[in-house]
Symmetry: C2
Subunit: 329 residues, 2 copies
């Protein structure tokens, strides 16, 4: 199956259409001088309204609906961050929203989604069950089901993050992006490669869910049977077909990081960088820690995308107090 990749014009159109509720998140220095040379910067989508980058795609996907579709309402499946963003954007645009979530979703994220105004429909703990439930809601209730894996407007919304990275750090050399469905990586890579083809865009996955890494090895999207990761935002058991086509064409590679390094990264970000970042958002820092560990990136200007900051306060406390190298309870 061949896919037409999203283009710079589409991403720019999505950026121009973003409402003022979407924050222009800061691009901050994290470490001005890394031990082996080079510097580390962060695109802080954890500071985005609703706590993750997903708000961009939520607006992009909802705003393209016709008045008739808006009246029917829209549905999406999500592990949490897209859910909150979708609910919030729906409330802002006065579009009723329904979110399908797996029963095992963190109660914190379910509660946030409800607080932000969406109806939550729980489904069994199977990645594919989310899509089956979505399909049922579309046929039974007439909701507009948005397939976040394959929706072109979703990728364009994600791509707006890439535009801002290049605008705010024009001489960036390496960009590290968390990977679950691969959508964020695809959108960001499309924007950055169009503007700066020499920049290396790398995807980062936790060892507990390396489905896109495996897919790249296989040459086509494959599923992992089970996901065992602290990163509750990175639970997609397979990449989307459309994201995967972008990743094959535009991305330098996928790196995997150990779960214990992710704990250290969340800890370091709170303690040293004063930023609350959820485990799935911290995988880029986990890849670089300890700083001397990635000789290939030495001397280069690196930007990590901190994709989200939504973790329950008591869970963050666990990350702050567990012994280094251990996993929090």
């Amino acid at each position: 199956m061949s896919h037409i990749l999203i283009g710079l014009d589409e991403i720019r159109a999505a950026a121009a259409a973003l409402p003022p509720q979407v924050r222009r998140t800061p691009l901050l220095p994290l470490v001005e001088e890394l031990p082996g040379g080079g510097s580390l910067h962060a695109k802080c989508e954890n500071l985005q309204q609703t706590g993750s980058y997903k708000l961009r795609a939520a607006f992009t996907a909802l705003m393209r609906l016709s008045p008739e579709e808006r009246a029917r309402g829209a549905a999406l499946s999500s592990s949490g961050n897209f859910a909150a963003a979708f609910a919030w954007a729906g409330q802002t645009l006065d579009i009723p929203t329904t979110v399908v979530m797996m029963q095992k979703t963190q109660p914190y994220k379910i509660e946030r989604t409800r607080q932000m105004g969406a109806r939550v429909v729980l489904c069994e703990n199977r990645f594919e069950a989310r899509f089956e439930t979505l399909k049922r809601l579309a046929s039974e209730e007439g909701l507009v089901a948005i397939d976040h894996l394959e929706d072109r407007s979703v990728l364009c919304g994600h791509g707006t993050v890439g535009l801002e990275i290049v605008e705010d750090l024009p001489d960036v050399e390496v960009v590290l992006v968390p990977v679950s469905t691969g959508g964020l990586l695809a959108g960001v890579a499309a924007a950055i490669q169009a503007l700066r083809p020499q920049v290396e865009v790398l995807g980062i996955q936790p060892e507990g869910n390396d489905s896109t890494w495996r897919s790249l090895q296989a040459g086509h999207p494959v599923s992992v049977p089970e996901v065992q990761t602290l990163c509750d935002a990175l639970t997609s058991t397979r990449p989307g077909n459309l994201p995967f086509a972008h990743i094959q064409a535009l991305v330098s590679g996928i790196e995997r990081v150990a779960e214990t390094e992710i704990v250290r990264a969340v800890h370091w970000l709170a303690d040293s960088a004063k930023l609350v970042v959820e485990p799935g958002g911290a995988v880029g820092v986990a890849h670089l820690r300890p700083w001397a560990g990635v000789p290939r990136l030495a001397g280069r200007k690196v930007c990590v995308l901190l994709s989200g900051g939504n973790l329950a306060p008591e869970r963050l406390a666990g990350f702050l107090t567990c012994s280094q190298g251990k996993l929090p309870a």
Copy 2:
């Protein structure tokens, strides 16, 4: 005693002289629409290098030393944040630094100061003992003692934060500033009042140390006998004379906040704003929480100065897990 207040030219000169190691910290939206109208923004000096605004004054104070003075080395007394900043700036400028700290200082802050390259000299747990020890070091060892309460260059360094607030939020209406010696409030008020005389600059103190509030009531600097506050960055038992003169002339007032509200503010900043802010840096948010609580500020564009983010990870964990309204262990 009359004091010549610092002027805009001096503050601008300090800003122009700041080295690139001092970060231009972001001014971020925290709440775009407050319940009673208006909006809340934050000047994020918790994201400053060394974790607090003190780095600006540390450079300003050290850079004005002559080559001969630099060779002798410089000394300062500090509760922690100025210590770390002073050590770091000294190491950057190749000036040996000594910091006098009270024995009760958080071990976390003592350790950080040493890690950043300063010698630490501990003194007894009396605010005035810090100055006595400083004096002794100056006479016995020939160190250049910087009196952070009365040093003009320190206030000018602090004032650079005020310049950036006005540059980045030109239509700001109210600025809330944490108060200990009053130096930060003095410097920020001097910059802002010179540029925007209509802006209301308010100082905020914890109930456990309201020395500057008492001083304003008395009409002259007074000491409080004892300080009992969670805000280990706000432990000065009296305002400096020079800062106090600025505060009398330029500031709309001092407000006091309950310690329990400070706990809620640290919690809210981490949970909702995804920012790690230490208790002393969170007093502005504590004053505004719950949002409907300050009718006088309703409908206005408010900026809180988040002055620092240095608290031990296990202490932050305590703030995140203690019951609302209780003080952490």
